[in-house]
């Protein structure tokens, strides 16, 4: 038995996922969409990592790769130190592991089968994976519904009878039903009304603490992500550009893209109406033809000639090893270290 305390629950190394682009009269592959291009990170048990970025940056693809809905083109995913690609050769073991890795989807309307009653949606997987038995299923379902704040009467109903917030609670119950350790939450509140979002965010936070879950929280609402996450990874065009403790990253962004992203979020306070902001020009590029060098350089207000040459790797923001251990903070901008951003502000 390995020591599960010190190895990460989830670790990905140099993960890549390319999708072919078909074209021509006789369709053949004319190029590749590099949805995820060389991403590495690890998550300890009980940690919540927020993955933020704009649409098309590859954040949802990472989520789908982690729960096994997609297979990586290259790179490895480790679950408790074991390589998922070798585990795939052992279907029985893989089946068991899949129950430990679950997902909550963005759209609670399309992710529940409209022809099935909630009883079937929740009970079938539990019986199939032998989490519960025929004689205990009702007790287990009651407990499950209680956790997500739904009454037992929902079991006989169909998905269309529920509001968006209730459906998302059912989606959460389904993810929890197989007693997972790790849940990918793919924009779980984006489709919900503001007054309902807080209910779901609070529920996820409570469940995470109560069940010691490890969560990957994907979102583009920075407020919601920072509310639930201890660490944040910022993605741009298939790669992570900044990674660090949530408080530190938001207080001292060390990548121009993160800074622009924070500046773009409207603050709900009229006094902030005219705060100085660095707005980005142009739009997110295409993952099918990403720019050379730093992928952010065409939009970067501080780009220098050398930014076009090589793609910068993630590096520690703090060069002082004594301080490094206090918090983690990495940036993919070679000029983002130690207060350089204030220097940038002087330039601009």
């Amino acid at each position: 038995m390995q020591d599960t305390q010190n190895i990460p629950l989830i670790e990905i190394r140099n993960l890549k996922k390319y999708y072919p682009v078909k074209g021509g009269i006789l369709p053949h592959t004319v190029g590749w969409v590099r949805a995820v291009d060389d991403v590495s990170f690890s998550m300890m048990r009980g940690e919540t990592l927020g993955l933020v970025g704009e649409s098309g940056c590859g954040k949802s693809t990472i989520g789908r790769l982690l729960v096994g809905l997609e297979e990586p083109t290259e790179g490895r995913i480790f679950y408790q130190g074991r390589d998922l690609s070798t585990l795939r050769k052992n279907p029985k073991e893989m089946r068991r592991i899949r129950t430990r890795l679950q997902m909550i989807f963005q759209d609670p309307y399309s992710s529940l089968n409209p022809r099935k009653q909630i009883y079937e949606i929740l009970a079938q997987p539990m019986l199939y994976h032998e989490i519960s038995r025929r004689d205990t299923i009702h007790r287990d379902l009651r407990r499950l519904l209680d956790m997500v704040g739904l009454p037992e009467t929902v079991l006989g109903k169909y998905p269309h009878e529920f509001s968006g917030g209730q459906r998302q609670r059912i989606g959460i119950a389904r993810a929890l039903s197989l007693h997972p350790e790790f849940i990918v939450c793919d924009e779980p509140v984006s489709a919900l009304d503001v007054s309902i979002q807080a209910q779901i965010l609070n529920l996820l936070k409570e469940l995470q603490a109560e069940l010691k879950l490890t969560l990957l929280f994907i979102g583009h609402g920075l407020g919601a992500v920072s509310y639930v996450s201890q660490r944040i990874a910022v993605m741009y065009l298939g790669g992570i550009v900044e990674y660090g403790d949530a408080q530190e990253l938001f207080a001292h962004p060390a990548h121009p893209y993160t800074k622009a992203l924070l500046d773009a979020v409207p603050i709900p306070d009229p006094a902030e109406k005219n705060r100085p902001r660095q707005l980005l020009q142009g739009e997110i590029g295409s993952s099918a033809a990403p720019p050379d060098g730093c992928r952010f350089h065409p939009r970067c207000p501080w780009a220098r000639p050398q930014c076009k040459n090589t793609r910068p790797p993630l590096q520690k923001v703090c060069s002082d090893p004594a301080k490094q251990s206090a918090f983690s903070h990495d940036t993919a901008c070679p000029y983002g270290q130690e207060g350089s951003l204030s220097e940038w502000e002087n330039i601009s």
């Binding site: 979020v265 603050i267 709900p268 109406k273 707005l279 020009q281 739009e283 997110i284």
Partner: protein, 324 residues
């Protein structure tokens, strides 16, 4: 001084199997020249129906059954169709949430802009094209000439919304209604579009009704805020005042329910329990009562709007009478 737009007791209903359902209930407000008024609320609260009613765009099954909408002193709801057509799209225009469905997929961008210019101004083809090019560069399209030849599907969401804004601005409107103009866009693009709208408003002294559910955008844009809940305006105040002293329990909850990146103290978000009631027009008392933490027996009586100081009104007897 009369207002640019004055809406009085606007009431709109939709036909349903069980009879008409009133989705906008006696809504009154005004917009002055150069002012940005934000209409805030959750989906289904009637904010879009309000704006569509103003424009006479309710469509099948819906109708304005009471009230009046005075634009520059004339009632839009009771004027001849020809006059309405002249004002609409000319002095009063609208942009929508989803720019892809609002643009015609089989015509080029240039075609659609020049068409709307020519329909309203009688300029020649060449003059209309000149003006279209000018508008496209005003809304920040990088290569206006090239863009004129493109079809909507080849443009990104942000670009499409810029085209919609260019079309809306083509006849120098006095009032622009923007219905969730950036909800479908990414946050950095949203910031660009909002900055553009701010600038256009300044340059042209244009008034704007901005419909949104994003409290952050409201704080960023609004001069005055109307909060809607279940078909009624429940609070109306200048923006600074609304954020500093929200009165209605729903407004207070709405301001507290949004997680922001500045909330680093990790307080628990205040959630509003329950959901917006269906068929809210059947509720006789306060429509927020069943979700309200401060509910009393008095709340089962119909609530009227109470005027406080400094242009602040609230539809809650308890909030109006409380000292702070």
């Amino acid at each position: 001084m009369s207002h640019l737009l004055e809406v009085q007791n606007l009431t709109a209903a939709f036909a349903q199997e069980q009879g008409a359902s009133i989705s906008v209930d006696h809504v009154s407000f005004y917009v002055d020249q150069g002012e940005v008024v934000c209409l805030v609320g959750e989906s289904g609260c009637g904010k879009s129906v309000t704006s569509l009613s103003l424009m006479g765009l309710l469509g099948k099954g819906g109708a304005v059954i009471d009230g009046s909408v005075f634009f520059e002193g004339k009632d839009l709801l009771r004027m001849p169709q020809a006059e309405l057509d002249r004002i609409r799209g000319n002095e009063l225009t609208m942009i929508f949430q989803d720019p892809l469905t609002s643009l015609n997929p089989v015509f080029t961008v240039g075609n659609q802009i020049t068409e709307s210019i020519r329909a309203h101004t009688g300029l020649s083809k060449k003059e209309a094209k000149e003006r279209a090019l000018g508008l496209l560069s005003q809304v920040g399209m990088p290569d206006a000439k090239e863009t004129m030849k493109k079809y909507p599907h080849t443009l990104s969401g942000g670009m499409r919304q810029r085209i919609m804004i260019a079309i809306a601005l083509s006849c120098n409107p006095r009032l622009l209604i923007a219905d969730e103009p950036t909800t479908a866009l990414d946050v950095t693009i949203q910031a660009q579009i909002m900055e553009l709208l701010k600038k256009l408003r300044q340059d042209r002294n244009m008034s704007m009704i901005l419909i949104t559910h994003d409290i952050g955008l409201v704080a960023n844009m609004a001069d005055r805020v109307l909060v809607m809940y279940a078909g009624q305006i429940i609070e109306d105040a200048p923006a600074d005042r609304l954020f500093a002293q929200p009165k209605h329990p729903y407004t207070r909850a709405l301001l507290n329910t949004v997680p922001t990146i500045r909330d680093r103290d990790r307080r628990k978000l205040q959630a509003i329990s329950g959901i917006v009631p269906e068929r809210y027009d059947k509720i006789t008392g306060c429509r927020f009562a069943d979700r309200c933490p401060y509910r009393t027996d008095a709340c089962s009586a119909p609530q009227k709007l109470y005027a406080l100081s400094a242009g602040h009104t609230v539809r809650c007897a308890a909030a109006a009478n409380s000292p702070a």
